[in-house]
């Protein structure tokens, strides 16, 4: 598969020794009859257990998400409500549309990924592709650029020096005049090439501006995901919503619950950031803010909008938003804006909420019937948490500022609702560059294995009864706060 060689098969992933070991260890820890794995009270006719699932964004690291969901599915876990951002949105979309709710889907997601040459997603200008291939995907690309610049300047100095040395020398050694002329031509050609390079870089910068500050149009991805949706019978937004909400045969509760099965309906959410009105948008739920007719939007556009990594991909636009009274009312209700924008411009949802687990929080629930699982991707290296802030470079300083802003929204929710942490498994992916679209086959398998291992570790520790108790305690605490200070508790409920 790597770089278009298309050799990887599903078996390379799922029959990997480490992955098989993960499943064996889980099956021996939770033998079917004696001590089965219990992660939810919602089960179907085939005894699959149902949970909600949130998948984090992270570029090519998304393969690890599939490793994680594969293990969950192998252990009989299925998903009712799904949500994701960016790469998480891609997996979420595929898991929503493939097969039926009660089916295991990860191997089919894997199959779709195996057939995809990742570098095709980098569909920008050939020069931009070349730069990404040779520089950006390498960890130390600034050093590589420096080396190239030094080489160019050194060659130019040598050529110019040679021109003048030979120009003087030819007076004493006559035949050197031909060599001097050739040297002059070589210098001219070298200067021409340098000029063309500068012109090309400038024109690429101009193209970047013209393209809405995106190096790659993202058209290849749009066509690919659209095909995946259509191949699975999803052509319209209505199809997508119906597919996400389709009934599960034999759905029941393992234990009695006052709400019974009420409200246990599937749905799907992709998070994206809208820059014109500066809002977080949840598709497909918010489709009606952009069109009057649900099916005049393309579901593939929602996923494309969610994965528009700023600068790397062009923004996704929805143009010609209707401006009628009805639309004005919807925008006023949703965001307090009385004039809807004429055009909306979307970038990666990850800049606002890369891990939208808060979507599944319902303050009215006293005892949860099913948990919300989240898959976190952690590509930080040990050295990244440098405790000496005075040593940061300018880039490091801005990077940390940006990360503090973009991660705090999700972090704040988890800090206030610690019980949700219990449903989150983290896949350690240090050493992988999330923008490296040149992953080798081995890298892909390794990421999948890491996902599988993280899921195994998570399931070994997950305590469903403890989760429920903690959730009940959280509710009691909120009610206590309400009794002491109703307004504060009310705020707290809203914040959550």
């Amino acid at each position: 598969m790597a770089n278009g060689t298309a050799k990887l098969t599903i078996d390379d992933f799922i029959k990997n020794n480490e992955v098989v070991k993960c499943i064996d260890s889980l099956k021996s820890a939770f033998p079917a009859g004696a001590k089965p794995l219990v992660v939810s009270d919602v089960v179907d006719g085939d005894n699959h257990q149902y949970v909600n699932l949130v998948q984090k964004g992270g570029g090519v690291l998304g393969i690890a998400l599939v490793g994680y969901t594969y293990i969950l599915e192998e252990m009989g876990i299925r998903f009712i409500r799904l949500a994701g951002t960016s790469a998480g949105a891609i997996n979420t979309a595929l898991m929503t549309v493939i097969g039926k709710k009660e089916d295991a889907k990860s191997t089919r997601v894997l199959d779709a990924i195996c057939k995809l040459n990742f570098f095709d997603l980098v569909d920008g200008h050939p020069a931009a592709r070349w730069i990404i291939r040779n520089f950006i995907t390498h960890g130390d690309f600034s050093a590589k650029i420096k080396k190239w610049m030094t080489g160019i300047i050194a060659t130019l100095i040598i050529l110019l020096a040679g021109d003048f040395i030979f120009l003087g020398w030819q007076h004493s050694v006559h035949w050197l005049s031909t060599v001097t002329m050739v040297l002059f031509i070589i210098t001219g050609i070298f200067l021409l090439m340098a000029g063309v390079l500068i012109f090309y870089i400038l024109s690429l910068m101009k193209r970047l501006k013209n393209a809405g500050f995106g190096i790659n149009p993202g058209d290849y991805f749009y066509d690919w995901i659209k095909k995946q949706l259509i191949d699975n019978g999803v052509k319209t937004v209505t199809d997508l919503q119906n597919k996400a909400a389709e009934d599960i045969p034999g759905l029941r509760l393992r234990v009695d619950h006052e709400d019974g099965l009420q409200g246990l309906k599937g749905d799907v959410t992709f998070i994206t950031s809208e820059l014109v009105t500066q809002n977080k948008i949840q598709f497909p739920a918010m489709w009606n803010l952009f069109r009057n007719d649900i099916d005049s939007l393309q579901p593939a556009g929602f996923i494309r909008a969610s994965m528009s990594i700023p600068v790397f991909f062009e923004s996704y636009f929805i143009n010609d938003i209707p401006q009628g009274e009805e639309m004005k009312r919807k925008w006023l209700d949703a965001f307090g804006i009385d004039t809807p924008p004429a055009n909306a411009r979307f970038v990666d949802g990850g800049i606002l909420s890369n891990f939208p687990i808060n979507l599944f929080y319902n303050p009215k629930i006293i005892t949860p019937r099913l948990p919300s699982f989240g898959i976190d991707l952690d590509d930080s290296r040990p050295g990244d948490s440098d405790p000496e802030p005075e040593n940061w470079s300018l880039l490091g300083y801005f990077g940390r500022m940006f990360n503090t802003i973009r991660f705090y929204y999700d972090k704040d929710f988890l800090l206030k609702n610690k019980v949700f942490q219990k449903g989150i498994g983290t896949i350690p992916l240090a050493g992988y560059n999330w923008l490296n679209f040149f992953l080798s086959d081995q890298d892909k398998i390794d990421m999948f294995v890491r996902g599988a291992k993280a899921a195994t570790e998570f399931l070994m520790k997950f305590d469903w009864e403890g989760y429920k108790d903690e959730r009940k305690d959280m509710r009691k605490k909120l009610l206590r706060e309400h009794a002491l200070d109703p307004s504060a508790a009310e705020n707290n409920l809203h914040n959550k």
Partner: protein, 226 residues
């Protein structure tokens, strides 16, 4: 032929080249197209598009512009492609004369022959340019035909050939002229023509600064209003 291959002729052709370049620059101030946003493009974007779709989208975008911007952009682009037919003999003619002049002075004979070949190769570059213009003129339509990848590849190869021949000739001739000048291997009379060319270039730059700036401001306001 010998009369034509001379510095006075070169100065005349070079002057005409600058006049036509100036006219083309005035037209290019109206080169706007629309994709997601209205943006400016250059003729190079049409000459070296990375994919067939890119070229088609750029042309389609001309017709997506609001009026009167769209009409102006289309007529400016077509106008420039027609004027380019006048520009070509001047550009390739100037390069031909330059290479011939260098060839005449060149020692050893192999060098002279190389420059002779470079001079006559300008005919191929000219032919490529003509084909390119016809190809583009036929494409300018609200619904342009999407070329196949092989046609697009052939188009890019032709562009590479055209630019390769012209730029190689220009850079080799200018490099050798610099060599002659630094070695003192030139006639004092030719300095007069160097002065004329410098004057032409200065005039071109002044005119560009005055007129193009005005034109750019006028044209540049329209997309914002639209």
């Amino acid at each position: 032929m010998q009369i034509i291959i001379s510095w006075p002729w070169f100065c005349a052709v070079f002057g005409l080249l600058l006049v036509i370049t100036f006219m083309m620059s005035l037209q290019s101030a109206h080169f706007y197209t629309k994709d997601n946003v209205i943006y400016k493009f250059s003729i190079i974007d049409l000459e070296l598009p990375s994919t067939p779709t890119e070229l088609v989208n750029l042309i389609k975008g001309l017709y997506k512009l609001p009026e009167p911007l769209s009409k102006k952009a289309v007529s400016a682009l077509k106008g420039q492609l027609y004027i380019d037919f006048l520009f070509m003999p001047c550009a390739y003619g100037a390069l031909f004369l330059l290479c011939m002049r260098v060839s005449e002075k060149m020692q050893p004979a192999i060098g002279a022959d190389i420059f002779l070949v470079l001079a006559w190769l300008q005919g191929i570059a000219w032919l490529c340019d003509i084909i390119e213009n016809i190809y583009l003129l036929r494409k300018i339509d609200p619904n342009p035909v999407l070329s196949s990848h092989s046609v697009h590849k052939a188009y890019l190869y032709m562009e590479a050939l055209k630019w390769g021949i012209a730029l190689t000739a220009a850079i080799c001739a200018v490099s050798i002229i610099c060599y002659f000048w630094l070695s003192g291997f030139y006639s004092a009379g030719s300095l007069r023509y160097a002065g004329i060319m410098a004057g032409e270039i200065i005039l071109f730059l002044i005119a560009s600064m005055i007129f193009l700036k005005k034109n750019k401001t006028r044209a540049g306001q329209k997309p914002v209003q639209a």
